[in-house]
Amino acid sequence: DTAVSQTPKYLVTQMGNDKSIKCEQNLGHDTMYWYKQDSKKFLKIMFSYNNKELIINETVPNRFSPKSPDKAHLNLHINSLELGDSAVYFCASSQGAGTGNQPQHFGDGTRLSIL
């Protein structure tokens, strides 16, 4: 059973379009995250939600809007896509955000390519 699943796995689209990536976890975790990994493999946190509430919002353009309908889902909507948005986007989840002592479990990533 997949613990953290993201869809789609690949997304190829044109500049200016709007797209969404979905993430679901079946681990019963209360915290979910979105990361962006660039071509040099640098993984940078974008957002974190704890029990559907936004708790981490790093410096990310407001074209990116996360939405958490429940604690098992965290979706990422991106408006007006730009070339620099091309990257692999990873969703992750963990338990107990407040302790800071729990590993995160990652999805397989969504490779976004902007033409």
Binding site: F42, G100, N101
Partner: protein
């Protein structure tokens, strides 16, 4: 700003060699340090370290944390081609699991 620095950036070794990967950090309100292995897709969790000087071990992999000098090492003994991957170091800090990743060390093990 929190910072995690890994070295070397890349490494090529022969099967059977022992390797040591380094991670140094400067973070506010440090809580824990984690190591992940990333092959083609998702990073997979290896170790979490919270206390200085206590070695964590899993098979041929081991890791230790020095909270005074602010670094950690990941050792892999008797390397195999299946160990080829990017190894990521990350810190948990602050209140709600603010996670900062290093740039990773790309390890290639050749037969």
């Amino acid at each position: 700003e929190d910072k995690v620095v890994q070295s070397p950036l890349s490494l090529v070794v022969h099967e059977g060699d022992t390797v040591t990967l380094n991670c140094s950090y400067e973070v506010t309100n440090f809580r824990s340090l984690l190591w992940y292995k990333q092959e083609k897709k998702a990073p997979t969790f290896l170790f979490m370290l919270t206390s200085s000087g206590i070695e964590k071990k899993s098979g041929r992999l081991s890791s230790i944390l020095d909270k005074k000098e602010l670094f950690s090492i990941l050792n892999i003994t008797a390397t195999q081609t299946g160990d080829s991957a990017v190894y990521l170091c990350a810190t948990n800090s602050g209140g709600y699991q603010k996670v900062t990743f290093g740039t990773g060390t790309k390890l290639q093990v050749i037969p």
